[in-house]
Amino acid sequence: MALSEAEREAIREEAAHYRDKSAASIEALKIVQQRHGWVSDEHIKDIAEVLGMSPDQLDGVATFYNLIYRRPVGKKVIHYCNSVSCWILGAEELREQMEKRLRIKLGETTQDGEYTLLPIVCLGACHRAPVMMVGDETYFEIDPARLDAIFPVKT
């Protein structure tokens, strides 16, 4: 899964905004992830080459961010917040409910390739905890009933 010339060009264009090409690492990772859904080891090497970095340096950036996926994910990624406010208000119970309902464990993808379940540190809405994101959608004040509604069981 090598980078296409179009992707390389998009990365080079992004890098041109900065004095130091490596400043474009996050944008470059986003460009690749947008197209492929995730960033593979091979992508890391290719992007690093374009940006004049070592794969190690770039992977340090890639693995730091929760929203850069270094493994394949489902069509939608569920990020449930497990920080303190959400935890107090039952985030772990909600996780268990999701695991049961979707038949996956944390870090896994549903068999139909629809969802991947991941934790996230904070979504910045503690006053409306528990919070989670499913794809681009954010859900607030979740309770078991709402959760069931978000993930209707397929028949």
């Binding site: 130091d20 070592s54 794969p55 190690d56 770039l58 992977d59 340090g60």
Partner: protein
């Protein structure tokens, strides 16, 4: 100086320093992790917390990190108040949450900074009962083990590897409690200073893999103060032995030379000491091994029968061993044993440093240079630790920027953020790409003589009286102007050169630049001349006829007997010449520790000892004479090379000191070597300094499989050290100190207790004595032989490798694993002309020997040059810059 109050006591401390360093300078026990004296402060680990009071009336204080707190007059702090102690205990408890507590099976155990700090803070009871995060460990190559579960995330490894050593293949991954320090995938750590990770890591994440192969606890190792034998810089080392084998080498701090860091060749090259290639017994050609007495008798008989005995010394043997040989054969019949032409270059270098206004800088001084020209030398391969010093020198611009912004130099993150990629100018003129190119302001790749021409042009730009260069390309001329300007504007300019290209012109050009700079500045100019081996300079100072003269003496019948000391002549001259020499001499004696091709042809081979089993004095490239001491007594028939020679002379000198003294009085330039270290008579409280730590265990049982009664410990008459744990080590002069330890500080971090201040000089003075000081106002004539622009069609050129070019370290399997395969490097244009491509095998005739090499394309290599890996086993000796013999594509 500033007056500060710590727990009610008033101290003097350096204003502007950070408080942690100040506390350690006062020898106070304050725990820390992320701070390192060579890398400054980042305030990451929170371990050095103290309570700071805002004034005399403040009773509560606030917690601050000592490493991030500047020392200023009136600073009032407490290390001991319960709030500070509890905070530190809490931090270590957090750091230890995921730590596996596997000390009994961890190789760091017993010399672990994390253990020491945990003890020191009083965290002796574990409350955490949860699950610990675990990591996958990586294969990192033959030098370093990886055990990530032990990590406490201090970030020292990446700060050293990337920030200090310029490595690009070790990084930190992920975030919060699962940060991971390693490579993006399994693989060999590329940086040639990776071994320092084992010492920089405060716990057992990175450990010495070569040590694992024959592991022994620190307290069970017998150590000695030693000097690295694998290049000319004279880095101080502390090798450790157990059961008669050398187990490892660790850094021995020297404030002027290696500081806290060694290169991987020096650290992992020790395997030759334990090698099967060792000569363990005397042998007589065509006979079985003989005993020591029979060997001594044969040696005496050979010397007696010889009408004209000549001696060939060795730049890898001590002054004493070489001097003993010189005494045996006589001054006129002593040859230092340098390679063909190398001797003349070393003499040229010595003439320059002894007569011109030139200062040989220490590595610490090199780090202070703010404009550097490296002319012709690939220092990363020929003197690796010097390359690490140059990497620090380019940071001086960053420190200048920080000074202007009033950011203290120890504020590492602040300095780096402020400076971004600003660097002091470093220019590299070399045959091919070097490991320092990434921090160079300019690189110039050319034929050796063209490099010299660039150098002459720089000198001419600096001083119009210095000879000009004809027909210089405009690109080179522009670069010369840029370099000259940078050197002229620098506060402390530096020239680095050496003999590795076998080019007189390169050395002469460097000398002209130095003289020009000295005239401009009215002070001696810093020039670092890289010599090839650990005692090249010392041997140059002893002097003697070159190898060619020895060959001639045998050819002409002027010599019939040859004694060769620690030297494989096949690494010094063409095979046919050495063959003729060894066959022509009636009788040949070799004293060495490694059985090589020269030894194979000797009538008598005497087992000499390696650096680890003998003692003596070496002179480094800095002109510093340093004494190294045996780590353990030689086993069996092996004995000091100089002792074989003394036996043969039947003189009354029985000990090393006698030879050192005789050498010092025979050669005035070597007079100061007597001060390099205390003599064998030195005692502390009437006692010797023990080589074994006081916790050394099992001494009575070590030989129990042979005999249950414990034999008397061997007596060392050649030094003030004992082969024992008995004696006095406190107050030991640095030159005699076998290893570092302090109560409560079992790791190498304890060295601060032995320094004037962390990172400063060792209390009592850094070891060794400089032999050559500059003649500041000396008039030194310009070198005027500027090479012309025309070139021979093809010439062989030596390319050096940190792992591969140095013979002894290549007998260490982990180092050999890192060496390249024999190759022929070509410019693509030459390759086309020769009809070969990358990966093709070719047969090349080098000095009469045909060798099979694999073609490697190097676009930066000048056209006409045939790059050959110098000194690599399997590649015969060749005369650098000579015309190659026949070359043809080999059959597949």
């Amino acid at each position: 100086m500033a007056e500060i109050e710590i727990d009610g006591t008033i101290y003097q401390a350096d204003a502007g320093d950070n408080l942690l360093k100040a506390c350690l300078s006062l020898k106070l026990d304050l725990p820390y992790f992320c701070w390192h004296p060579a890398m400054g402060s980042v305030g990451a680990c929170r371990q050095c917390a103290v309570l700071q009071f805002k004034d005399q009336d403040d009773r509560h204080g606030r917690i601050v990190m000592a490493c991030m707190t500047p020392v200023a007059d009136g600073l009032r702090v407490s290390l001991e108040r319960p709030e500070a102690r509890q905070f530190r205990a809490g931090i270590i408890e957090l750091l230890m949450i995921n730590h596996p507590h596997d000390c009994p099976v961890c190789e760091e155990g017993g010399e672990c900074h994390l253990q020491d700090m945990t003890e020191m803070t009083g965290h002796t009871f574990r409350r955490y009962r949860g699950k610990k995060r675990t990591h996958y460990n990586q294969y990192l190559g033959p030098f370093i083990n990886h055990e990530m579960n032990r990590c406490i995330a201090c970030y020292r490894c990446v700060r050293f590897y990337q920030g200090y050593a310029g490595g690009r293949d070790l990084d930190v991954f992920a975030a919060h409690n699962h940060v991971y320090f390693g490579r993006h995938e399994d693989g060999v750590l590329e940086n040639e200073f990776s071994g320092n990770l084992a010492e920089v890591c405060p716990t057992g994440v990175f450990t010495d893999k070569t040590f694992s192969a024959h592991y022994t606890r620190k307290w069970d190792l017998q150590n000695a103060p030693s000097i690295c034998a694998h290049c000319s810089l004279g880095c101080n080392t502390s090798p450790g032995e157990r059961y008669g084998t050398l187990r490892r080498i660790v850094n021995r701090y020297h404030g002027e030379i290696n500081g806290y860091f060694l290169c991987d060749r020096g650290r992992f090259g020790y395997g030759f000491v334990n090698s099967p290639a060792r000569i363990r017994k005397p042998s007589i050609l065509g006979q079985q091994a003989v005993g020591r007495q029979a060997a001594q008798e044969r040696f005496a008989a050979i010397l007696k029968s010889g009408e004209n005995v000549i001696g060939i010394g060795s730049p890898r043997a001590s002054l004493e061993a070489n001097f003993a040989l010189r005494e045996l054969v006589g001054q006129e019949r002593f040859h230092p044993g340098f390679a063909d032409r190398e001797g003349a270059l070393i003499k040229l270098m010595l003439d320059i440093v002894q007569q011109a206004p030139v200062h040989l800088p220490s590595l610490r001084e090199i780090e202070q240079a703010d404009a550097v020209l490296v002319l012709g030398e690939d220092v990363g391969s020929t003197a690796p630790r010097l390359a690490l010093a140059l990497r620090q020198a380019v940071r001086n611009e960053a420190f200048e920027i920080a000074d202007q912004l009033k950011i203290p130099r120890w504020q590492d993150a602040g300095v780096r953020d402020a400076a971004q990629d600003a660097k002091s100018p470093l220019f590299i003129a070399s045959l091919a790409a070097t490991g320092l190119d990434d921090v160079a302001a300019g690189v110039y790749r050319a034929h050796p003589e063209e490099l010299a021409r660039l150098g002459f042009a720089v000198a001419h730009r600096l001083d119009a009286e210095s000879p000009a260069v004809e027909e210089l390309l405009s690109t080179a001329d522009d670069l010369a102007a840029t370099i000259a300007q940078a050197l002229r504007e620098a506060k402390r300019p530096l020239i680095v050169t050496g003999v590795s290209l076998y080019s007189e012109s390169v050395i002469e050009a460097a000398a002209n630049i130095a003289v020009a700079l000295a005239r401009l500045r009215g002070a001696a100019a810093d020039v670092s001349f890289v010599a090839p081996e650990c005692n090249s300079l010392g041997l140059g100072l002893i002097g003697g006829g070159d190898l060619e003269a020895a060959f001639q003496a045998v050819d002409e019948g002027a010599a019939d007997t040859v004694v060769i000391l620690e030297n494989d002549l096949y690494r010094r001259a063409a095979r046919d010449k050495v063959d003729r020499f060894l066959a022509g001499a009636k009788r040949v004696v070799v004293i060495d520790h490694i059985f090589h091709d020269t030894a194979k042809k000797a009538e008598l081979v005497l087992p000499g000892s390696t650096f680890a089993e003998t003692e003596g004095t070496l002179v480094s490239s800095e002109g510093r004479a340093q004494r190294f001491f045996s780590v353990f007594p030689p086993a069996g028939e092996v004995q000091d090379s100089w002792r074989w020679l003394l036996d043969a002379m039947q003189v009354r000198w029985r000990h090393l000191d006698y030879i050192t003294e005789a050498c010092a009085s025979a050669l005035p330039v070597l007079q100061p070597i007597l001060r390099a270290a205390p003599s064998a008579n030195f005692r502390i409280e009437g006692m010797k300094v023990p080589r074994q730590p006081h916790r050394y265990s099992g001494r009575t049982a070590i030989r129990a499989n042979v005999r249950v009664s414990e034999p008397k410990q061997p007596v060392d008459e050649d030094s003030a050290l004992s082969f024992s744990m008995e004696g006095v080590s406190s107050g030991c002069p640095p030159s005699l100190n076998p290893s570092v330890w302090a109560p409560g500080w079992n790791s190498n971090q304890s060295v601060f207790k032995l320094q004037d201040e962390p990172g400063g000089q060792l209390s009592g003075g850094d070891p060794g004595v400089r032999l050559i000081e500059p003649k500041v106002n000396a008039e030194f004539p310009w070198f005027t032989r500027v090479p012309g622009a025309e070139r021979k069609l093809r010439q062989v050129a030596p390319l050096y490798h940190v792992f591969g070019s140095e013979a002894l370290s290549m007998l260490s399997p982990p180092v050999a694993e890192r060496a390249p395969e024999p190759y022929l490097a070509l410019n693509p244009a030459d390759a086309r002309e020769l009809g070969v491509g990358a990966g093709d095998a070719v047969e090349l005739e080098l000095a009469g020997v045909t060798v099979r090499l694999v073609v490697l394309l190097k676009a930066e290599l000048a056209e006409g040059l045939l790059g050959i890996p110098a000194g690599l086993p399997g590649v015969p000796w060749f005369a650098p810059l000579s015309e190659p013999g026949s070359i043809r594509k080999a059959e597949a």
